[in-house]
Amino acid sequence: MITLDGVRAGYDTPSGFVAAVDGVSLTLADHEILGVAGESGCGKSTLVRLIYGEFGARTPLRLASGSIAARFPGADGGAPIAVPGERLRAHWWDLVTYVPQGSMSVLNPVMRIGAQFVDALPGRRRGHGMDAEIAAFLAEFDLDSQVLRAYPHQLSGGMRQRVLVAMAAFVHPRVILADEPTTALDVVVQKRILILLRQVQRRQRNSVVIVSHDLGVHYQVADRLAVLYAGKLIEIGPTDPVFARPLHPYTQGLIEAIPRVGDDQPRGGIEGRPPDLAAPPPGCRFHPRCREARALCARAEPALEEKAAGRFAACHFR
């Protein structure tokens, strides 16, 4: 499992440090699928980068305070590993893998899929027989072994995304991080990839973090849902109860914005846009857009509290 404790991290800009993730504490349990939701610019991708350990001197992302640690049963006898900040450890990909967004631009356009697949494998697992093993593995993703000989531009968007999922899953990692894995794909392809991801997780018994702005995605696959707003974790809990009875007005707004079949009422949604992270509003960061905001909300920042069993939210009045 991976634990974030009071993590404040962000980027140095000409006008000073801007925290994209601010005071976030959460635990990714073993064998769970954690969905991370929120509008663009709420710190979702930054959170994934932090968990992957892609921060420190050689990257623009800086960990200002807090800590991130990983503890995997079996590996290293379960002792906690500080998530690498300075540089990626050589074998990190064995433990934590990453499915990026934008499948066209993340694959080398002039290299065959097979070679790129093998590239990510640790040296000891290369060699003869690998191709057959990879081909067998790809078959589980409904991908023909021909794919290995293809170049990225020869595959459809859905196929490329499945290749990326397969690349991330092939090493049987402890954690798969998926950053908007289905964005820009049509709904049918999207559903297929989500089901594949879920199957992989069940079979390999690892943890998956799915980042998506689309609550529909989380409804389909996530065991737990974490909602970020302006760098703050404002609600986290098991998916079904969260959807049935959201605790935070922001979560409620997001859920209400989902279109439903047979409902021709205009969707409520949330007025306005997330605040500028360089100058967030005082108190509760959501209060300027909140329909239920009261005087207290502008003054005091609500803490993330357990409101029901396993359900946490940061709101003064819920």
Partner: protein, 332 residues
């Protein structure tokens, strides 16, 4: 299908470019007020050669014929195209009568070809390697020094550099010959050594100038490629830095540089002509020069037309080889 369409497109463009080039060679002399036949006759008579009017008339007729100047402009154009494209025949050289222009060109061509091919390959490879290193490690002292050198030599025109080199190596520190004189029987060790020895300065001056350009363009290019998401993702997957730089950065950047090479050929060819003239190197450039100096119109038209065809053909060759190395074209 994609490849066929690609090749067909290139071939059509190639034919059209050659047509445009040959037409230019045809049109330019006809736009000028001077009549090449009269100019030629004037030149012959002014050299003191006595000719009676009958001779002059016969010569005028044969010159008009040789230049293809009889008949309407359209008929002339048709004959010109037919002659140049189908037979490669430009008539006899006047200065070296009766050697055909095509023979002279055939003798000069390997020299130019060898010089340009060798120096281009060396400069392209070295320049791109250095440019890649500078682009990847822009903050190293050696990178900054190398870049400063490239910035200073790139803008210098070929012939100025050639001139400086010739001043240095032939007057101040005379180790290389200033003009080309080849010794030894063809294809003996002596001969080859002598060719290399004599080609050294012209090749060096081309390499140095072209090198600077490749360094500068490759630096900019590799800095862009390094920021591509696929490079970032490769690093995230824990690939070794050598693998990332070689297979992900360099391979992509080099492919772009091949297409740039195709675009630069014309410029490089022009540059090599000047180098040849300055070093009296027995290639197309020197042939062109002597044609001009001796007023040898047939030779002049032949070399200029050949220059156009040669550059267009070399460009076509690169374009046709390109799908073999870039899969994106192959399957588009």
């Amino acid at each position: 299908m994609g490849v066929v369409a690609y090749i067909a497109g290139r071939l059509v463009a190639y034919v059209l470019v050659i047509l445009v080039g040959i037409t230019t060679v045809f049109v330019v002399p006809r736009l000028l007020p001077t009549n090449p036949v009269e100019a030629m006759l004037g030149k012959l008579t002014s050299q003191g050669a006595y000719m009676d009017p009958v001779q002059v008339d016969a010569l005028r007729r044969s010159l008009t014929d040789a230049f293809g100047l009889h008949g309407s402009v359209l008929a002339q154009y048709g004959r010109f195209l037919h002659r140049v494209l189908l037979t490669g025949d430009f008539g006899p050289s006047f200065a070296m009568y009766p050697t055909p222009v095509s023979t002279l060109i055939r003798e000069a061509l390997p020299w130019t070809f060898g010089l340009l091919l060798t120096s281009t390959l060396i400069a392209w490879t070295l320049g791109n390697l250095v440019g890649l290193l500078i682009g990847l490690y822009p903050n190293r002292t050696s990178s900054r020094a190398m870049e400063a050198v490239a910035v200073c030599i790139y803008p210098i025109p070929y012939y100025v550099l050639a001139l400086v080199l010739s001043i240095f190596f032939s007057y101040i520190w005379p180790i290389f010959p200033l003009t080309t004189t080849v010794q030894g029987a063809p294809w003996t060790l002596d001969f080859v050594g002598s060719v290399i020895w004599n080609s050294f300065l012209p090749a060096l001056s081309i390499i140095i100038v072209v090198f600077g350009w490749w360094v500068i363009s490759m630096k900019a290019l590799s800095q862009t490629v390094v920021q591509e998401p696929f490079v970032h993702y490769a690093r995230l997957r824990g690939l070794s830095e050598t693998r990332v730089l070689g297979a992900y950065v360099a391979r992509n950047a080099m492919l772009t540089q091949v297409t740039v090479l195709a675009l630069q050929l014309g410029l490089m060819f022009s540059g090599s002509l000047v180098c040849e003239i300055l070093f009296a190197y027995p290639g197309i450039g020197s042939l062109l020069y002597s044609a001009v100096v001796q007023g040898d119109y047939n030779l002049l038209m032949g070399t200029v037309a050949l220059s156009i065809v040669a550059v267009a053909t070399a460009t076509l060759a690169i374009d046709l080889l390109y799908p073999l190395i870039d899969p994106r074209v192959r399957y588009r």
